[in-house]
Amino acid sequence: MPETFNEMIDGGQVRPAYQSLERWQNEMPADLRQMKQSEAEALFRRVGITFAVYGEGGDPERLIPFDMFPRVFTAGEWRKLERGIRQRAAALNAFLADVYDQREIIRAGKIPEHLVTHNEAFERAVVGMRPPRNVWSHIVGVDLVRTGPDQFYVLEDNCRTPSGVSYMLQNREIMMRMFPHLFVENRIAPVDGYADALRHTLASVAPKKCDGDPTVVILTPGQFNSAYYEHSFLADLMGVELVEGQDLFVEGDFCWMRTTEGPKKVDVIYRRIDDAFLDPLCFRPDSMLGVPGLMNVYRSGGVSICSAPGAGVADDKAIYTFVPDMIRFYLGEAPILENVPTWQCAKPDECKYVLEHLSELVVKEVHGSGGYGMLVGPKADQSQIEAFRHKITEKPWNYIAQPTLALSACPTFVEEGVAPRHVDLRPYCLVGERIELVPGGLTRVALNEGSLVVNSSQGGGVKDTWVLAE
């Protein structure tokens, strides 16, 4: 394994961005740290920010561990990331607009047709559709990892409904309450503009048929969903209604919300439910979570749905490989952020390489998420490797493989004091009338020593993420 880049200490020196935090850490007595850590936990519990893991059972009220040691980016580092993320969000949206219309990128031979159209995330129901401003993915979560001072890689894109932004906001809120002096000593770019920016983004994609101030709602599958807290939190911050499918109905050309003052027309739906459950008249007929007839209203321009149904075809792991090509094709620019080199097991020669190097590689399911169904070769034992060899041989098209990256590490509070732990980053890019990005994002940290898996379902925690002002 290549050497890990430590974001605080490089070549025995504390990097300038972390100098104030290093002092802070050294001056903090152990008992104060204990106290602050319990205080943070109590605050998280009080605001109700808990997380349930899909399919794992257990305690649905479990907290995602919060690590008080912030992660810091300099203004210069962030500038490059920001440009790269904006570029990526623009290209992904151009791709979606294209594949549901003229498919020029396929005609040009840049992406194999079957990867796009013979893909479960490709929605025939929206072919030929042009959503307002031709935006398909309104909130793009770009997962990034760092391997060196100037080396970042995009791990994956999330074009449907990336979650976690409530942690970004709460982490900051809680840090400011517990350590106000840190925010005086350091000039840290604020993140609290996110809710306004999101509201503005959603309102900016209201359908043409909407005259006046658009009515925006968040559509949630309900309180048993693992991200329900986030849905209600964002609705509160934006000052919009949080609704479930049963609160909405379709009549005539529009979608309506039941209110105590009678039906109110809904113009923009920020949906946090999957395509398959949106409308039993178009997708799964047994879905009780959606709104019958919603897709017809959407298709006929009576309501906007964010993200657009079918947007998932852009964040498929098989499509990911082609994002740099998309950037060149649609924007005529060189990609600012790099992809992780990826082997497609669907290609026989690449599959052969993967099978010969399983102990060095990370193998992922093409459609998987959340760190499930994944092999981390260097950390796996022989039986796990053999199990994956069998799976890949059975269904090669279902797997991709990547080199094991030496994810950067950030100082993190652990039992013994402070120790480096591996981190990733998910910034949230908003696409509407403008492309907007609040500085920072959600840093996830693998709390187990040596672990590279940052997913909250597998022992991951979160950190406040700072972008220092110029």
Binding site: F122, V127, F249, L281, P285, N296
Partner: protein, 278 residues
């Protein structure tokens, strides 16, 4: 051929429903194979809206009715002139790429017997023209799944229908789609009406058949139930990934119980009935 259609769908609810909402694809496709003379979809009390033509070229409309409602009736009446293009769907404007119809659904999901049926049928036809191979698949399905009503249900899959060896046009269509898709031929489910002058001709309330994408010809219809390609006796309404996706009427009701459905379809040859009247 000039055909007239009268298609009445009647729902009766033992306990009244509080609300009904449906998505309709009850309007004939726009293509050279057929030209609408007149066409109407009538319902009492329904609010209509959210209408559009989708990427597959189908006209979709939304209707809803607030209850209490103990019955609901949809009456489709129209006259249409059809032309025989030997199954080829001609001048049908659509934007969905044929390759999107290679993805199976739960109802057309592959199985080993389906795979064998496809391979056994096509192995001797290696290198033969695509249209010949498509005909062979359609005939093989007609041989493998006998037309017998009452043996299958609306949720029966292609694999199950092949295993049972019996089914209705829906099942035969699903089996044909499955074997075609497995062989790399895009296939879709088509709904419509069929005029039948002969008493032994198979015609259900609403007929269904498959379209296979054949290079150089485009979409070509195959009706394994009648071992023919759709001609001027066929009226095309719409298409989809399977029977559920292509259904001319998809709906949900709130509240209520005990739904009973009566469907009557009459397709007449206008010229023949005018002669009779004279």
């Amino acid at each position: 051929m000039k055909l007239s259609v009268s298609h009445v769908t009647r729902y009766v609810f033992e306990t009244p429903v509080t609300r009904l909402i449906q998505s309709h694809r009850l309007t004939p496709s726009r293509c050279a194979n057929q030209r609408v003379i007149s066409w109407e979809v009538n319902m009492l009390k329904a609010v209509r809206g959210a209408a559009f033509r989708d990427g597959a070229g189908d006209w979709t409309e939304t209707v809803s009715v607030d209850g209490p409602l103990d019955a609901f009736e949809i009456e489709v009446t129209g006259e249409i002139e059809t032309e025989d293009f030997a199954g080829v769907l001609r001048d049908h404007r659509e934007k969905v790429p044929p390759s999107a119809y290679l993805t199976p659904t739960a109802r057309t999901w592959p199985s080993q017997p389906l795979r064998e049926l496809a391979e056994d049928t096509l192995a001797p036809l290696d290198g033969r023209p695509a249209i010949e191979r498509a005909h062979a698949l359609s005939n093989a399905v007609a041989d493998a799944v006998e037309y017998v009503p009452g043996e299958t249900e609306s949720l029966t899959t292609a694999a199950e229908a092949l295993e049972g060896g019996k089914g209705v046009c829906q099942d035969q269509t699903h089996v044909l789609m499955a074997v075609a898709q497995m062989s790399g031929v895009p296939a879709r489910y088509v709904t419509g009406y069929l005029f039948s002058a002969m008493p032994d001709h198979i015609s259900e309330a609403s007929h269904a058949w498959a379209e296979l994408y054949v290079d150089d010809l485009g979409w070509v219809g195959f009706d394994p139930s009648n071992r023919v390609c759709p001609d001027d006796r066929y009226i095309r309404l719409g298409s989809g990934y399977d029977s559920q996706d292509a259904a001319p009427i998809r709906g949900v009701v709130s509240g209520g119980a005990g739904e009973r459905l009566d469907v009557s379809v009459k397709v007449r040859d206008i010229a023949a009935s005018e002669q009779q009247q004279q």
